[in-house]
Symmetry: C2
Subunit: 130 residues, 2 copies
Amino acid sequence: MPVNNYYSITEMTREFGVSTRTLRFYEDEGLIHPERRGRTRLYRQADRRLIAEILRGRRIGFTIAEIREIIQVYSQPPGEIGQLKLLMKRIDEKRDDLRQKRKDIEDTLTELDHIEEACIGRLAEIGVGT
Amino acid sequence: MPVNNYYSITEMTREFGVSTRTLRFYEDEGLIHPERRGRTRLYRQADRRLIAEILRGRRIGFTIAEIREIIQVYSQPPGEIGQLKLLMKRIDEKRDDLRQKRKDIEDTLTELDHIEEACIGRLAEIGVGT
DNA sequence: CGCGAAATTGACTTTGACGTAAAAGTCAAT
DNA sequence: ATTGACTTTTACGTCAAAGTCAATTTCGCG
């Protein structure tokens, strides 16, 4: 249970199924910045949302650097025009990458369907004899 | 160009954009088994298809072990009933995993859309003053 | 206050997926 | 026979993303 709207690090680890080491690692990498009371980390709603986003990126296969990039864009939209255009180009690239990945996933899903069908057929075959 | 329906290793690397090291690594890991003429590897259509599948798995984020599993299922459908059921369970799990990944990707795609919109807005703002 | 559980830190290790470098073999063409 | 372009094998290196461990600190609470 959160105390005073703050979550301890172990509460976070339980919620997200990651280790404390992982959370500290993300902090070292500049992805999250929990508050401190003394040396103890205190996590809040904003941190929870951020962590959820980080883990989503991780599941997709983004590197820490890529995740950091996306996060930074959110918190600090670049002011310079060249940077903005560069950013948009990188967004486009990432989008293409994701679309490819989605297609790969869909292809693999139908492939899994085929495999399962084969299994069912095989089971029926064998099952007859039992 | 393939000679006599055989492809050399560098032809494969060019086609798939991977290194020779990678192809040999996949062979060491038991994913592919190109023929040999003497010590030289010769790749064929079947190998090409397999490699395409391996790389698709890689893009999705499967480990070598997972890829190997899927491949083995194809080449050797298990005959024992318990193994078949186990396999189907693992397929179900993998499918859930992929569906989650697809959702993650879709969420991230719309997030990227938002970010890009913000960029466009920002560009319009700034662009006015130039 | 005192004590045990929880948290922090730093250093070291591990794992997966290749990269890289060295030394030697293959083969076609000059 | 030599050159040059590929290949092969072996072995060590690397890089990201944590895991592990040990030595402190700090917190909650009786």
